[in-house]
């Protein structure tokens, strides 16, 4: 079975899957980190933490945008990922996290306390939860790199 599915992989999917798996963790780590630094800022009002949050969200969005493109290619080039709910769940969760964090980046441009409390931190929680949930689905999604080991028909 594994061989049959492997033959169906297009070249694009084969090429992009490892790139995606390399990029995807970066925004997840950044968004979770931004939640941690938001908590640190709300506890201390020390501006360094706010700046950490801003850079983490910005870096998460930059690498997240590249990852989102790679995921789009994977989705278009590989029918298997589109079958069943998990692939879609992964895409919706990850793209959702990016949209929430884009808004969060704008909120974090406020000069001081109200950049984080309450709206910024709320968005950081939502964004981090969505990103981690997207990471959770990845273990079950037939992205090429993972797929040969546990393809689900």
């Amino acid at each position: 079975m594994a061989e049959i599915h492997a033959h169906r992989h297009s070249d694009a999917a084969r090429a992009v899957a490892p790139i995606y798996l390399l990029l995807f963790p970066i925004p997840v780590v950044c968004f979770v980190g931004a939640l941690a630094t938001d908590l640190a800022y709300s506890a201390s009002a020390y501006l360094m933490w706010l700046h950490f949050s801003e850079w983490l969200i910005a870096a998460g969005l930059a690498f997240g945008a590249l990852a989102a493109l790679a995921l789009l290619v994977e989705f278009l080039a590989r029918p298997a990922i589109r079958r069943g709910g998990l692939g879609w769940a992964h895409l919706v969760l990850f793209y959702g996290a990016l949209v929430v964090e884009l808004i969060n980046a704008f909120v974090h441009t406020i000069d001081g306390w109200t950049a984080v409390v309450p709206t910024g931190m709320t968005l950081s929680i939502v964004g981090a939860v969505l990103a981690v949930a997207a990471a959770g689905t990845l273990f079950r999604v037939p992205v090429t790199w993972v797929a040969p080991r546990e393809v689900m028909p």
Binding site: L47, E54, A105, F106, V107, G112, W113
Partner: protein, 439 residues
Amino acid sequence: MKTSTTLALAACVALAACGSGDERNFDKSTEYGPNPKLPEPSRGLLPKMNVPKVVGWQGETPTVPQGFRIEALATGLANPRNVYPLPNGDLLVIESKKDAKEPVERPKRPVMAWVESKAHGGAGGGPSNRILLLRAAAGGKPAAQSVLIDHLNSPFGVVVVGDALYVADTDAILRFPFKAGDTQVGGAPVKVVDLPAGPINHHWTKSLTASPDGSKLYVGVGSNSNAMERGLDEETNRAAIWEVDPSTGAFKVFASGLRNPNGLTFYPGSNVLWAVVNERDELGPNLVPDYMTSVKPGAFYGWPFSYWGQHEDPRVRPQQPDRVKAAIPPDYGLSSHVAPLGLAFYTGSAFPAQFGGGAFVGEHGSWNRPELNGYKVVFIRFENGKPVGQPMDFVTGFVKDGKARGRPVGVAVDRAGALIVADDVGNTVWRVSSSAATP
């Protein structure tokens, strides 16, 4: 490139509070005077901005009221920011620009720096950061133009006391041997006192004046941030007016809580110091009004903890309720984001009587609200040493069809009673005289 560069960044992004009806229908006349209307702070997802494209004057001139005429004294300058008429009729023109870049401590900074550079349109190409001398001639037009002092460090304020010319560079007050009539300074400068400057140096224009008896200097030192978002440590002795002893360089903070004080001027015939102050951004298009105020010795005017007296700024932490309680409101609101940078009281007699003792304010103009505000010189009448009524537009036309032809900065009244205006985007010095009087 014909259309104005409108950065409607906030326009309607996702859940942004899209310019509510309240904001658009805000009656601007309620923002002037001693008790301006202060709406609730509201920023939206991004601060609303509108940066007009800079097109220059192309031979045209600003507009002045009936009974006045305006002419260019000097054109093709490099960022003329301030003007200082001398008693013999000569005029000092201070060309200045900020050279140093601010450190990028957050992703927002480069974006804001780019927006503000758009508003300046790149400025004139020639060398800046120097003081020009325009030699007086009959009829107002200068007979000659020469460089009095070169290679200064972003100078702004100047004042002549006795045989000394004091220049407020962004990082120090310098004293040059000079008196009216000289065409050259008489040697190297002596540093009077260091002023807070780099490495951040956000508000860099140091306005300067002297007490009527010449015994003290007063220098405006603007804040290093919009609303303390770089921390309190960066604001040491900033957002303040200093009183400096010119002989020893000893200084004390004369008044504080003034976010970016400029146009320091003593009211004629009094010992009352006045200033125009740029208030904070990103609390909405109609908040916080910039203002003109007499400066009470030792007073605290709120920045960063509160605005217009005791209205607390929600962004500033840790809060300091005791400081807020001590904050006093300023005298006269000029409306939000007009960016007043010049102030001159009318001491001449060439203009009609109502102008006597009133204030001209150079409003550099906004970039941080959807509807442009400022970009003009306004006049505010004074009675018994106090501002009365609404400001009257005096020099206008700096924006036409949404494009900036110039931006007024420093203003002054010359020996003949004409108003001199520095225009740092039009790279011109303008002179407004009464068309009734013979030149």
